[in-house]
Symmetry: D2
Subunit: 278 residues, 4 copies
């Protein structure tokens, strides 16, 4: 039976790769629906995302592509299907709300397995959508103890990504290492400007004329992971930092949802500390 | 001797095209430097722009690609080299000036063969850059008579594109047909809003909150040709239409220069009344 | 007791107005917190929005300002307080959802009296937020008959604005006239480009490189009312019109919510077919 | 004889200021053409820019305003008239070129007294516009020795602003202190991101999705002065840092010219390390 899949290839660059890969598709009678490639010349890495249609099994196609690719090749053949995500939040509802509405609409491209929060502020909102909500307070507890409880909770679920939808806590390296390339964060500034706490206050104090938001993969270094999406909003001297925070929320939620859409559609490759986005 | 060329293919879509084309490059030992493809599914057309490096002759490569492509295929193998352009202007200096500065800097990617104007306002500016300037007044003359003089002038030069850098006259179908897909215009609005005369006045009267500029190929229908590039500038109630015009100039010159850069780098395919841009 | 109010003045321009108005505030010992003015020179109209704090009664302050202003002056002294709105929707959830989330968060600046829809698609979503939902189908009914039922429903509520959050029906002049300067619409294009039905399809067919959204007051002329807010989103040849529609939704909801915030904060003056926004 | 002036007031905030100032204009029979105010509540400072028309002398009006204002008030009554500027450049032509074209067009709002460069690369371009060019090489010289030569050169001219149009040298505190609030710089990043050398290389290495440019007053702290204007340009993984540099130039020149226009029109107040812009 005819099907459709996303073929993702990420490997050392080599001569003839496009030909070799196209030959695999051609020999099997597969149709190339869309095709994007990129070669990172600095690091000599090749990235390719192709949508193919035709008759094939995932396993066979992966094996065949592996055969003609450099040894280090990371090859994935993925059928388009909803992913599963877990949301971590604190008190603010805008990023979470945007995701909930898209989810309710069937537009998100993911099932929300649960929402975990270190405050119970958002419980009512989440329950309106019949989604499991876990309040895991961090009060009177070491960072490690709290995270271990969160990780216990996460363990119950099958998931592709953990989305920090304004989760206002710093994660330990232990937590981050447990979910490599699986944690997406929205940072409320135009990184690398205003790393760390209260970027709107920092932006106000610096007197900038534009504020921004950045969605990125979380790595060990705070706010230093590969950037997926960024956007900006003009501001002026009339805005207090609270006004900037309010104005910035629209940017935050849109940037996070856009990044999420890219990730859930398998359009993002992590390339060292950067991303390649097709 | 090793060289580098842009391969542009534009044809009816067909199965196996990417493979067939990649095979030609592979069999000749050519390296694919960058590669972009697009299939217009509505019209079943295939577009591809590849930069190849290696040892080859233009003619042979074109012939070989022609052989494996659908009959209607439009195939061009182009060595990156400065193009030649002719500028048509009226009185405003901003778009012209931007091009002159880039040209003087060696950043334009084109030689300016001459500037033709229906007023002599810009003669001093053009002469500062030692570029031939022709003042062909349209006064007391039919549109046809004036255009015929302009075409006489153009005839002396070898050129790839005619750039209307704020040429404030409507062209006849005769003129347009003489230079198919060779005339680039900057229209001072966000097309298709405000077609026709004085779009800033129209924008002011309509009370819009954003104004724009559009660079496009010129076709028979006024302001209806394939769009290459667009950009916008926020405005508000405090601006008069003269203020909008002034503010809009930055957008106009940047949009035109960006479109010109795309066209001169052979990144633009005309696809019916639209463009495909790699 | 000290209070705070927005003073809105809209009148024929006259010499000494700023002085006369400032004198009223000064003589009463009121503090000017913020102050914005604008003179439309073309139409010789004066607009002013001042936030004052101090001890006063609304009625007295309005009367006193009326006395020193030109006869046609439209003067409003408004205490900042949540407004009441009614939402009209059809099937799409993004604009409605954005408003519901802001409302649930206490960020909207308005109470939602009810949601009226010509389809029942959004009933579940609205009920999740415990907001009255009225499904008034338009099937097998004249436009007039349907509108009369909608107006019956509206009549039960006290409200400041009717918000068309993707209400996909054309309103009759009767309906529009019943609520002057009280109906806010989001149009899914960068007006005045693509007036009318399916603007995304129109944008796709025209091959534009930027799409937009426009929030405006509804007047008799379809899509011709005073514009409050506009924004744009870049697109390219790879997007189908369905993709454009999807991408455009983020713009639509943000533009509508921004316009709503401006209107609910009494920052918008209607000035003929335009707006003055402070 | 009737004239027109910009009245700029910058002082400690106080009750009744708007009234007192409006009274001065009113008593003298002056017309308020446009009027903008702002109160920085954090620092309790009042800013006002009014355009008045009528019969008055600068000196008398300034004195009268001084009388009714707090003691620390900085009051300027300025007739709109071209300012004088000195340009400092290094090798790149885009920012300089943009200013030269506007100047040639009579659109700049300033006379260019001279261009001073630490390389002679731009001499030909500047001479095309008949503007004095001084090549003051910094080779084999201490920073102090070079700056002292530059200051000698500057001394010959009367000027309002020194514009660093991509002057790629760090200024000493001595130089900066000599021209307080008179030096405008364009920094080729979205400050405070990428302070210091080669911001495009930094942006490339960080993998950002947007790059920017910032025009600011120069103070002792490198890249830390009050920001006047900022703008951004989207980028992606396909751009090398050289590509980003090229793409960024359009932003740089537009942001600098916009900042220059604001400053030359007396629309910018310096407020500590920030700006208030009307």
């Amino acid at each position: 039976m005819e099907k459709r899949a996303r073929v993702l290839i990420d490997c050392e660059d080599a001569k003839g790769l496009v030909y070799q890969i196209a030959k695999v598709f051609y020999d099997r009678g597969l149709n190339i629906d869309t095709n994007r490639e990129f070669v990172d010349k600095q690091n000599k890495r090749f990235f390719m995302r192709t949508i193919v249609t035709g008759v094939f099994t995932i396993k066979e196609l992966e094996d065949e592509l592996q055969k003609i690719s450099p040894k280090d090749a990371h090859i994935r053949v993925i059928e388009p299907r909803d992913k599963k995500i877990i949301l971590l939040v604190t008190k603010e509802s805008h990023a979470l709300g945007d995701i909930l509405i898209r989810h309710a609409d069937g537009e998100l491209g993911a099932d929300i397995e649960c929402v975990i929060a270190n405050h119970n502020t958002l419980e009512t909102l989440v329950r309106r959508f019949d989604i499991p909500f876990f309040h895991i307070s961090a009060e009177d507890m070491s960072r490690e103890a709290h995270e271990s409880k969160v990780m216990q909770c996460i363990k119950q679920f099958d998931f592709n990504y953990i989305v920090l939808a304004k989760y206002m806590r710093i994660l330990t390296p232990t937590f981050v290492k447990a979910y490599p390339q699986k944690i997406i964060n929205i940072h409320h500034s135009f990184l690398p400007a205003f790393i760390g706490a209260n970027p709107y206050k920092q932006a106000f104090d610096r007197g900038v004329k534009i504020i921004g938001a950045t969605a990125h993969y979380v790595t060990d270094d705070l706010d230093e992971g590969p950037i997926i999406s960024q956007d900006v909003i003009p501001v002026n001297h009339r805005l207090t930092w609270k006004d900037m925070q309010r104005a910035g929320r629209d940017g935050e939620k849109i940037v996070l949802s856009r990044a999420l859409s890219l990730v859930l559609n398998d359009r993002v490759f992590v390339n060292g500390n950067k991303t390649v986005i097709f």
